[in-house]
Symmetry: C2
Subunit: 557 residues, 2 copies
């Protein structure tokens, strides 16, 4: 019996999948690595079978759509983007072959995509499942050469990524080939939330770089870009309601306009003549303002937000103005960020300034509050503001560790300090995101790929109903030593190790010798990133992002 996400509205697809399964018997098994196998996939799909045929792919690959979601503009844009990726290497050849008049017959000249829903809303938990069949059309089958079926356009997007990874440029024939066909793949993610944090406060990243990072995430099927926009060092974002806030930017050139922020959410690729190209990635953007700590830069424009000019953090808890500003920021941000989750930070709050600044001290005494009480007061008030704007609040784990019983039950607890927090959070009924800094903080350069790979978000949680409260996990790219020059190679390839952990079946990736089952595929994926223009670093470096130690092949470093 096919599980729900795979329930097909097209009988022939079910029939065809059965045929496909009968051809090869390895369904559900993880294939042994094979040095001669030319096709590697990352992250590993839930279920797949392959064969032993090689198929050629037409550079003029066309799209045929079906299903009530088939006419989606998102789908068309995604297909165009992936066609460009798949034929990146052959573009020159096809350009020159126009002059020489070469032409060939190809096995795969059409990709059929069936989308069973026309609901294009991108939110947490959107159905990303898909099926993908690739086989030589024998002229008898109704399903044709390459067929994707998905319940949503976002499932189709994930399928297109997988399809693009099946395609590789063959230097013998100078064409794109699919090895080991027929392919029958049924796939879906293990977790709904598969995130990457980028910190644009410690270093500013041009929006062009941010868009490249978001696009690179799609290659590993990550789906939440956590934008840690502001921190104590700089406030780069324009806030129309409080236009002096971005005076806290490093320079007047290191800023994001409201339009820039829209661009990061919408990902326009370019405008050509009157045709929009969108870089459609199906990636949610979760914005963060990290309060009340990590907010010194707010006071550059509005010094009233500081307890005093000599003691500038946390934000002044005593003033209505502080919460007016927060509310103003959130109102302006709500117009930009449609994602249901909003991150309110709440970590590393050192309340010394509150205890030592006379007017704050007095305010606490008047209310018979400790500084810790004020921390709770602040966080809960900010949560109320976010909830009033129809946001689900996310907080770093200190809020849960300090006053779990008071947190709004909708709070998503974001783990970072270490192990054991998600088990506690879900035991109390909270949702949780796993980012144990010992493994998933990408600025920890001494963590090798295999430790990133084996860190398990469900560790210590055995009850299935409690496991369901773990939304997923997130790798965090803090910015103290990451700028435009080195951010991609600090993120990649280790973020990919976490991405497979979050996407693929736990049983499939938690057994066997990962030096054989995962490492060769990860090295292949790193080189794939390089080919796509992403500066992923060598996989087996002793320290992350270090240059290669000597000459050699990408596939062995």
């Amino acid at each position: 019996m096919l599980s729900d996400p795979f329930k097909s509205h097209f009988l022939f697809l079910i029939l065809s999948f059965s045929l496909c399964v009968s051809q090869t018997l390895a369904l559900n098994s993880v294939p042994e690595p094979d040095a001669s196998a030319l096709t590697y996939l990352w992250p590993l799909p839930s279920e797949f079978t392959s064969g032993n045929h090689t198929l050629s792919v037409d550079p003029d690959l066309s799209l045929a759509v079906a299903g009530i979601g088939g006419s989606s503009a998102i789908l068309r844009a995604a297909f165009d983007r992936y066609r460009a990726i798949i034929f990146k290497h052959t573009s020159g050849i096809s350009i020159f072959s126009r002059f020489t008049g070469r032409s060939s017959v190809y096995d795969i000249s059409k990709l059929k995509i069936i989308v069973n829903s026309d609901n294009e809303e991108l939110q947490l938990g959107v159905d990303e499942s898909y099926t993908l069949f690739v086989s030589k059309n024998d002229g008898k089958s109704i399903i044709g050469e390459a067929t994707i079926e998905a319940n949503t356009v976002y499932g189709a997007l994930r399928a297109l990524e997988t399809f693009s990874q099946l395609c590789s440029f063959d230097y013998g024939t100078k064409s794109v080939q699919i090895y080991k066909a027929p392919w029958c793949i049924r796939d879906k993610p293990r977790f709904a939330f598969r995130g990457l944090l980028l910190d644009t406060s410690r270093h500013y990243f041009p929006i062009y770089v941010i868009k490249q990072i978001i696009e690179s995430m799609s290659y590993a099927k990550l789906n939440v870009f956590h934008w840690h926009i502001i921190d104590e060092e700089s406030f780069p974002l324009e806030v129309p309601a409080y236009p002096k806030l971005w005076k806290g930017s490093y320079t007047k050139w290191e800023r994001y306009t409201v339009e820039d922020a829209y661009e990061i959410v919408k990902m326009p690729l370019f405008l050509f003549l009157d045709y929009f190209m969108w870089c459609v990635t199906g990636i949610n953007v979760m914005a963060e303002i990290d309060i009340p700590g990590h907010a010194e830069s707010w006071g550059t424009g509005y010094p009233d937000l500081w307890p005093s000019t000599s003691c500038r953090e946390p934000l002044d808890v005593t003033k209505n103005f502080t919460f007016d500003v927060i509310s103003g920021i959130l109102t302006d941000m709500r117009k930009i960020f449609p994602f249901e989750l909003f991150h309110l930070g709440g970590d590393e709050v050192n309340t010394d300034c509150w205890s030592s600044t006379p007017h704050v001290k007095q305010w606490l005494q008047d209310r018979n509050m400790t500084a810790k009480d004020a921390y709770k007061y602040f966080v809960l008030k900010a949560q109320e503001i976010a909830i009033s704007k129809n946001w689900t609040p996310v907080n770093w784990e200190e809020t849960f560790n300090t006053f779990a019983e008071n947190l709004n039950p909708r709070t998503v607890v974001h783990n970072w300090l270490g192990a054991g927090v998600c088990p506690k959070a879900v035991a109390k009924g909270f949702k949780c995101i796993f980012s144990n800094q010992g493994f998933w903080y990408l600025d920890h350069l001494d963590v090798p790929w295999n430790e990133v790979y084996t860190a398990e978000p469900l560790e210590g949680i055995n009850d299935t109903s409690k496991q369901a409260l773990v939304l997923g996990g997130e790798v965090c790219m803090w910015g103290e030593t990451a700028d435009t020059s080195d951010v991609q190679q600090t993120i990649w390839p280790r973020a990919a190790a976490a991405a497979e952990r979050m996407w693929s079946r736990r049983d499939a990736i938690s057994t066997g010798n990962i030096a054989l089952t995962a490492l060769p595929r990860l090295q292949y994926f790193r080189c794939l990133l390089n080919r796509r223009g992403v500066q992923a670093a060598p996989v087996t470096n002793k320290y992350a992002r270090r240059p290669p130690t000597g000459a050699g092949s990408c596939y062995e470093q």
Copy 2:
């Protein structure tokens, strides 16, 4: 009296330039750095004046052409490319303003480009001079708002780069502005050959990366991409005449087809519908095969090229086959590379294998030749082959150091070992390229930007006629520890320091405190590269390409 390259065919331009000069008196002077000055240029133009007006630039900036070269497709493509660069930041805004219907009046809505020749041949010494005027159109002047005049399209390309650097995105008005107008710039390069070497043998770079590097070179007005394609570690290039040669590649995925090589020369950006976009950079590609040393990988496909299977370098000097293969490679390459210079290597030839391999030893004895004689024999024979194919041979300096008197007089001597070689070479009438490894080898990570900047190709050459024999210089990006993950930040920003040395007037950049006259501009240029998607590293790092040591602004790191 205007010097030749600036001789205008348009009287009004001369008149206008005079007007411009009369407005500001600082012509020929290098302006003092001014922290409040918003516009920095890199490399410094030969002559320029600026004013104190701020002009806004229309995102729908249009092109008007004149002169017999004005209708060039190269010019149109270059304009389109630079318009995309200039308005990269505003693209989102203009997209969204289409919906909101915003519109404005701009000071600069048209760029006029006059090209005085329709000769589009790109070769060494092509006229790259240009004049650029930017002023507010008062309705009376005939020359309009922004005007470029050049003798060739390649001069116009350099002018477009300068124009793009005058334009900066202003976060207050959310539009592109030109500060310090009116601008009157007359510019030309000091050296005809301003190169960057990339080694694709120690590590393979996808063509996508190579094209990005070539495009980034154009930002610093470098104009020769020296492609060190093959070395002892790997032979990535397809050679149709000897199809087994690329068996010497690391893997079957780390190869360049003939079409790839064409693409590196022609730089197609993408094909959209039926419209070609070319990334026109005006950069020559100088190919290299480094013989007879550095060629072990050749024998993977053709073991006969080795003296023996146990002693594999230099190439077997005794066999006609060796020279047949060289001739075949050069014949195939001649179809791809139109540049008049071809690099034959010739460095670091350890002849031990020749002296120790019986059949080679016998061959030497039969001819009463030493191994050193055989080295000369090999190099001269290769030079003859290259010359017969209408190429000017370039050789690393060892050939000059060892047998200068025998070298073909057309030989270009490529310095690398240290100081003093170009003075000796030009004294003997040879042309020379300066790449002193102590300063211009980019893999030497301990050379700070200022030592790169002050290295002078004409050092020790005082006679003007001898100075004219120094074609220029080249920074070298050897590939032992440079791969896709780190190559751009190893090249930049230090390559830019050499680029200004090679482009700008020696007197203008050799006096004063470069920490004040050059460093702030270089830091600005590094951030400009970052904004354009190039991973240029911090400028003031102790070691090149290291990440920033802490949080901070791009402009201060």
